[in-house]
Subunit: 225 residues, 8 copies
């Protein structure tokens, strides 16, 4: 009885309750994971350690661990089952990878297509400029950057596609645990940027997936009318 699994949410939000592993003991995560597994729907657990995965695997052997992302998944939709719309996941540096992988794996689990474009930070702009076309093919772009977080502004200035900006805590000193990137992204002089919490790759994926679904649904409506 320590947690109320929220099956209702699965219905009205398009995917089921997601397990947030931080501060849960491996056994707790495993118990909830198993309960959600019984619904037959995809299951997603974020911020999970290798120990948590061991506990989950003992109960649900088909569960898959994405180590870099610290994510456990079950029944991620196959590529041909995924709705239209691609989410580009873009990072500034190699240190942003864990957050990027949390975003990418979560988006895949929510049934989106994902395109990874990593290590294209603004200190060497040619790297980003060479990816311009790939960026323009996405329906939503998730930009993940620490330090000054300038990448979100530069990307949003290049395209006319919604940008979900994820500040990361990468850096030290006056980055104040991600505050510098957070404030930079909130004050972006470019248009079309929505910000999520520091290091919240999962939240970015959830917003991006909601946008993709919202577009598809709308697409449906459009042709109905």
């Amino acid at each position: 009885g320590f947690a109320k699994v929220d099956h209702y949410r699965a219905i009205h939000q398009g995917f089921p309750e997601v397990i947030f592993g931080l501060g849960k003991r491996p056994e707790q995560t495993a118990v909830i994971f198993e309960r959600l597994a019984r619904t037959g729907l995809p299951v997603l657990a974020t911020r999970c350690t290798a120990e948590a995965f061991a506990a989950v695997q003992a109960k649900v052997p088909e569960a898959v661990f994405h180590e870099l992302a610290q994510v456990i998944t079950l029944r991620v939709p196959e590529e041909n089952e995924r709705p239209i719309g691609t989410i580009a996941v873009v990072t500034a540096g190699t240190a942003d990878l864990p957050v990027a992988e949390e975003a990418a794996v979560s988006a895949l689990a929510m049934g989106c297509r994902v395109k990874r474009i990593f290590d294209v930070g603004v200190a060497g702009l040619h790297r980003l400029l060479s990816k311009r076309n790939e960026l323009k093919e996405a329906q939503v772009i998730v930009v993940i950057a620490g330090m000054e977080g300038a990448l979100a502004s530069v990307v949003a200035g290049m395209v006319d596609i919604p940008v979900v900006a994820v500040p990361t805590s990468i850096g030290y000193g006056a980055n104040f645990g991600g505050l510098s990137a957070l404030l930079g992204m909130l004050n972006s002089c470019a248009l079309g940027v929505g910000v999520v919490n520091i290091d919240n790759g999962f939240g970015a994926a959830a917003l991006a997936a909601t946008i993709v679904r919202s577009g598809s649904r709308e697409a449906g409506r459009f042709h109905d009318v």
Copy 2:
């Protein structure tokens, strides 16, 4: 030569350079407004005083002033010219109105349909619950709230639609100029929330419009395939 009007942006972002009136003298705003008016495209100027409008009107008599929103517009698309997709603009209290109107007028100028749902803050939940159906018909919901900003979480928990959250500086004392609402929205426990800067109604409209356009475009692609 004091400003470089960015016609290029009009093309790749779907709407033209927007004038940011804060810190500009009325005459400066009027000069830029006139230059943009000559493009034949819609024109939008935010954070404008009545004095700025007087200066604009002297040069561009058809310009319209939205006093509460502090916005000047020209050639806002007619209702039947607007793309599919409605943006719901939701506020917690009456004091949030100026920010809400900045968002609403901006969204209209960008060619979106707008549905206003005002004064439904969480202190009296029945007000919000009675609007559930109207909310579900929107393609994007812009939630505008000051003080603790809890409305964004509650709305996002009720629907499966992208929520653009705008913290406002409404409040005093420990709201620290909007910080309380900002942090509340960034830490939302509900999914599908993207945050913009404090009091940034215009930025919220721009993100919402980008999402709507992105969905429509995608809709096109969908049926092409």
Copy 3:
């Protein structure tokens, strides 16, 4: 002589000096616990590790350890000895449990009745709405929530009962160690909310108990006059 046990407070505050285990060595906690045990009154020690409990138990074998709450108690009043008035302890998520248990166990030790209502955060409002009647039967409601802390506003808006709000440090990034929930609760747009320190379940219980006692005493007076 390293601590002055404050027997005087037991009298004028209705319960004895409470031991704050943080930063005390197990042996120090045990010595003070034993000294208080000799008074014959209930004893309460918060923020205690399992090691501290081992040291206490060696001296006071009847002491009880509440592991999740990190609290040690002695002579908690039996249910029929407890004054009228129930304290509802409400949490947003499962991660808030340790703080909630600190509050609940402390309130029981102070002679209050306690009703636990856990995991009813605002992201899925139906969970909270279904508990409306249980909430209305309490004399004080302790609301415990991290992240954006919106639960305090929503609960206070539903009832006409004092709400003691406890922000928790649950979350990451821009929660800044509980600041987001703290500011959210201080800026609550609902009426009847008093805030205590981040993670301070014990302090919330003490305030709630003081309110309950204050009401009972007043009740007495009322009929005397």
Copy 4:
């Protein structure tokens, strides 16, 4: 249509919607005031300027202006109509008076008895010690202090009565607009302290009134059983 008057709240919270004058134009305040006046219930409007009062008085001549408190009232209950329970309003310095009067007038409007104990800050402790008996007769104590806000701790340490602490923005420099008093009160080493927002005299009165009502109601129940 710019504001939804919340009559429902009057019923379940024991007093009607309160008008928050900050950021409202005099005419707006007057319109809402008149609408609430028609309910026949008491009316309370806080943070009102003399201009706002002039506008209200033109529509509701019986309205009363409390200048120091910046509060407008209508139909404040007579002394013999007020429930049992006295709220002591205690201030540290003379500069805290406006906040104290906002609290006192609001509490009176909500039907409480009020006892004012002003200018008893901790720099001259004898002033406070000489008021010990008056303090002990209250059912709730509202402590209002700026600068270091130490008065809340000292008062709460002297009595076994709920303390509602209101930090004020009185001071300069490192008081950071009331932050010093706010943090001081949140970290109080005394028990039984609930904190409200900086300068929020009204919010303190609302919490205190809720406690008083909660006690009386409970008193009824007690004797029913």
Copy 5:
């Protein structure tokens, strides 16, 4: 005797004591200005109002007022008297102009050549990319930007020239008076960036001039050896 004019500094720092007008009364500024004018060296006064200039002009008729920059100068070196080395002054938006002009006029007064490159912020990157060659011809680049301050990183990534970054207070909400741009610039992922105080155009010019002088001097030494 209210100020000690520091003639010594003129000698060892290459230019004389600079008058900081903020918080000085016009008459005070004028008295000091006249005293420095008597040295026969260039004179520079920053943060001066039109009133201050009127007072100065009454005593020193040849003084020149740079209104946008809020700077008063006397005996600015002619173009052919200026040392080698050009300082490029680059701004993100038109609102940064006053700070940019403070920098430009100060640098001219200190004997540097100045190249103004304005309104090339990162939201429309093509504007900046088209200026690449002009940037590469400078010996020092002063980058002035508010909001997220990303321009400093992008410029520093394009060239191998010292960048002096000036965050401005332009923006609102979560820019917290320039904090967002300041943190962004301090956390720049590009190399070769030194940061000065928010809005400190003068300080940037002083550092840039010191670098230019240092290079020239070194150049001299180089050929001596």
Copy 6:
């Protein structure tokens, strides 16, 4: 050559260079300690671990370790060698002891008399009031308190003696590492309070000792004239 021992300071400041152990390896501390020991003057090293002491003792066997204070001393003056003037070291709670001992041992090493008055925080005022006479006999009072730090104001209000206030990091949540006590002490409404850094027991002792010496010297002068 990794450190310049500053013998000059011993002369003009009345006691020698003090070793700050934080961030030094045991061996580094020991080398500097030995070098200072050779001067024949008292030696003081603060923030030292047991490992650092072991390393020191191997080189200087007469060195003494004060474990609670984390201080190592050599040649602390005997009681009869100490100048007139007593420093009272007063703490609010038992958790403040390490800081208090750092202050007390440092003051003794600097040749002052010390009177310890511990655990007299404001939550139980009678404890402090009963020490009034002891306080009045001191020449300087060092007040050490965490949480809200109110003790400094209350003590300073009781006496006419300089108070050196040391905020401690004791507490959690909204104490923000000692910020609450620091701001409280800086905003003290009582007169005669000088504040040092959070947890800086040593710095408080140094200031107190400077005051004592300054008084004695002055005393000397007084009678010379």
Copy 7:
């Protein structure tokens, strides 16, 4: 009855209640001033406007206004009535003068001798070094500096005399209203520094006067024994 004049404090703190003019209306200040004037003791009122002085003068014609200091005094002791001990008041820049004068006039009113040493900030160290002897003759040094506040460390490193450090709000941008100088002074690497609130010249004088009195009293005791 709006203020309790605290005659008791006059006795045990050596000088009477001081009027804090900030937030008081001229008439209020005048009423309290007159009441204190009747005691025959010196009177001191700080943070007073010219209007407040006009109101005071109408009631107490002998009152004196110190415009730059914003201080009103009555019966300041003559030079030969002042106790031994000189307070040096040292400032970094001319903009610190108002705070310095508040300190100087307050110290004179409290019966101290005062030596003003102004405009000797660390950017031109020779100015300070040339004052070394004057500094060494003081019994307490009050150092007043804004911006980085480095002057306190440099002065304290030069002498073995208590330094009372007053950070000022002079500066802009990242001085954050005096925070930079405040933190600099609290973290001083020099010994013997006690810090008061930002811009609190009066508080510095009160601490300095307490130190001077404490030394004199001690001097007496010394020779008694």
Copy 8:
């Protein structure tokens, strides 16, 4: 493919991509190091642990570990290969050494001459004054200081050479992880100071090297013309 090595930068910035070891696993660092080693250019990796060095050495045996600096280098230019221009690296205390060595080793790797001047903080000014001539011979001075960071102002006030200021996180309590030194340096009242991130010795070296190169290049141009 986890990192894009940026050979392009080596050309236009004068030295190759630098490896940032923080958050990289030893093996990752080693793989990138080896790839850069193959270019034949100097290689620099900062923030590297001994474990990272072991992994690098296994692949590139000539790599050198600078333990205190936590830096790994390859092919550092010989002294006679270094351009004109000396960088003085100056520290306030011994605790600043790791940052100073990161700066010094990085500057050497970038081909600069380096002069170390350590432990000359402002608490004992004579230490710094005795180094005046050595300072004046540098082309750039890197000043590294924690706590109040006053050394940057004092040094910049003594010379007419660019100062690159590095705040360090050395200190505790109200140094807030280096914030005190950072704000102090940003608010320096001396001219010619550019600030980099807290503890960023590498960034300071990169800026200093860019200044040196810029001067030399300019020197070349100067004599060409």
